[in-house]
């Protein structure tokens, strides 16, 4: 019985920490902000390194910097210009990432919540 529970737990953990390679879409909302902002990521995972690009849509993509995977957590950054986006996400379910985002300019710093799901067909 104990062995079965251990196997199930291991399988669940490995499913949660699955490869993030692929397209992810969703939104973020800045605390105190007006509305949600669309997000589209094209991620590429190689071991514990995450690369690829992200932005508001397919036509506006920025390279992912300092991307790392730590268990079921993913951390990476994007610089769009005046703003730098630092994501701290966690796989909350298979095909679902959510967490926080810190936006920083040379004057301002804001926090946001992010929610992404894996796009179908990739």
């Amino acid at each position: 019985m104990n062995r079965t529970i251990a196997v199930v737990t291991l399988l669940a953990a490995s499913a949660m920490a699955s490869d993030l390679t692929g397209k992810w879409s969703g939104t973020f909302k800045v605390d105190g902000g007006d509305h949600t902002v669309p997000q589209l990521f094209i991620l590429k995972q190689q071991g514990k390194t995450l690369s690829g690009s992200g932005g508001p849509n397919a036509g506006e993509q920025y390279p992912i910097e300092n991307g790392i995977i730590d268990g079921d957590e993913a951390r990476f950054e994007l610089t769009t210009g005046e703003w730098k986006f630092a994501y701290d996400l966690k796989q909350t379910a298979p095909g679902a990432l959510s967490g926080t985002l810190k936006l920083q300019s040379v004057n301002d710093s804001r926090n946001a919540t992010v929610s992404l799901t894996r796009s179908k067909g990739n």
């Binding site: 105190g32 509305h35 004057n107 710093s109």
Partner: protein, 340 residues
């Protein structure tokens, strides 16, 4: 009275933020001024100087100089570098993070908190509008515009409240009404879209190219700017986004004689051949975008330049005084009533 506390915050921070760019330059004098010279370096040279100084970081964007005595800025991932465009001297780096002015802005918009702070402030502006209307209603029968009595007397504060109130009424009404529009922007946008039948999805053009260019580019930043300037004669480039960051060169341009959405002109270029992929012009804004841009220009005081910025700042600074004098009048009146 509680709303008064929030109006104090709005007034003080609004007065400061009216001159945010000027104060920002004052706080960073060594990064904000250069001695004009004859020969200007190319953006490539300026970018290389900045990148070399900070560990070879790639250039994200350029902010070309807006005036001969203002340096060109280069945006890197780690921050914004000021470079003397005549000598290539790197003046310094501004790292990312909240500054005093950033905190003032956060206080003004959301009490430096999240949704709760933002909701408190936007409803405080609604109360402010009611307060201004009631103030005018109370002032009208007496039409008092002079100050009498010693400063500690109730008469002095009553006269001050009436006189300053009537002189600052119009700018405060404008600041409050425009502040309400900003606070309820989503709701106002929906209303405007219903009125004008604008589909928000069609309000801006999306560049057609979908893949970012990761390799070297054939077109230089200076060439991209030259193409964009030829497309919009009379407009000055104030920003250039590098294709590695977004997939295309995006040149943002502004018309100096237009204060409403003047900066909302952009040309997107294919970095491989200079083909113009998208053009966004302030002249082709939707009614919703134009209304919101005009509203913002009134609220910030930018609508007519420095004179309206000064009026906006003065009206904002008068707001705390009106709140305090109103409170003093109310306290003294309450005390008199208690004494019978």
């Amino acid at each position: 009275m509680i709303a008064g506390a929030f109006l104090l915050v709005l007034g003080i921070t609004g007065g400061i933020l009216a001159f945010e760019p000027e104060l920002d330059r004052l706080l960073h004098p060594h990064l904000s001024r250069v001695k004009p010279d004859v020969r200007t370096l190319s953006l490539v040279q300026i970018g290389e100087a900045a990148s070399m100084k900070y560990g070879g970081e790639p250039v994200v964007a350029y902010l070309p100089s807006s005036s001969p005595d203002v340096p060109t800025e280069v945006i890197l991932s780690s921050g914004v570098v000021s470079v003397n465009q005549y000598t290539g001297e790197v003046l310094g780096l501004r790292t990312r993070g909240q500054t005093v002015l950033g905190f003032m802005r956060a206080l003004h918009i959301r009490l430096a908190t999240g949704d709760i702070g933002r909701n408190i402030l936007r409803w405080s502006t609604v109360l402010m509008l009611i307060s201004l209307a009631s103030g005018l209603y109370l002032w009208w029968p007496r039409k008092r515009i002079r100050i009498r009595g010693p400063w500690w007397s109730r008469l002095f504060w009553s006269d001050q409240h009436n006189s300053f109130g009537i002189f600052s009424l119009l700018p405060l009404l404008l600041l409050t009404a425009t502040g309400i529009v900003i606070g309820f922007e989503d709701e106002v946008s929906s209303l405007l879209d219903k009125m004008y039948g604008t589909n928000p999805a069609h309000s801006s053009q999306t560049p057609a190219r979908s893949e970012p260019s990761q390799g070297s580019t054939e077109l230089t930043p200076d060439q991209a700017i030259a193409i964009a300037r030829a497309q919009l004669p009379g407009a000055l480039p104030y920003r250039l986004q590098m294709p590695r960051y977004g997939g295309l060169y995006v040149v943002s341009l502004a018309y100096s004689d237009n204060r409403i959405a003047a900066e909302r002109n952009s040309i997107s270029l294919d970095p491989r051949n200079g083909r113009i992929v998208a053009v966004n012009q302030s002249a082709s804004l939707t009614p919703r975008e134009r209304f919101l841009a005009t509203n913002e220009a009134i609220h910030t005081g930018n609508i007519l330049g420095m004179p309206t910025k000064i009026i906006a700042a003065l009206a904002s600074i008068l707001l705390p005084l009106q709140v305090v004098s109103g409170l003093l009048i109310w306290i003294r009146r309450t005390n008199i009533l208690r004494r019978g």
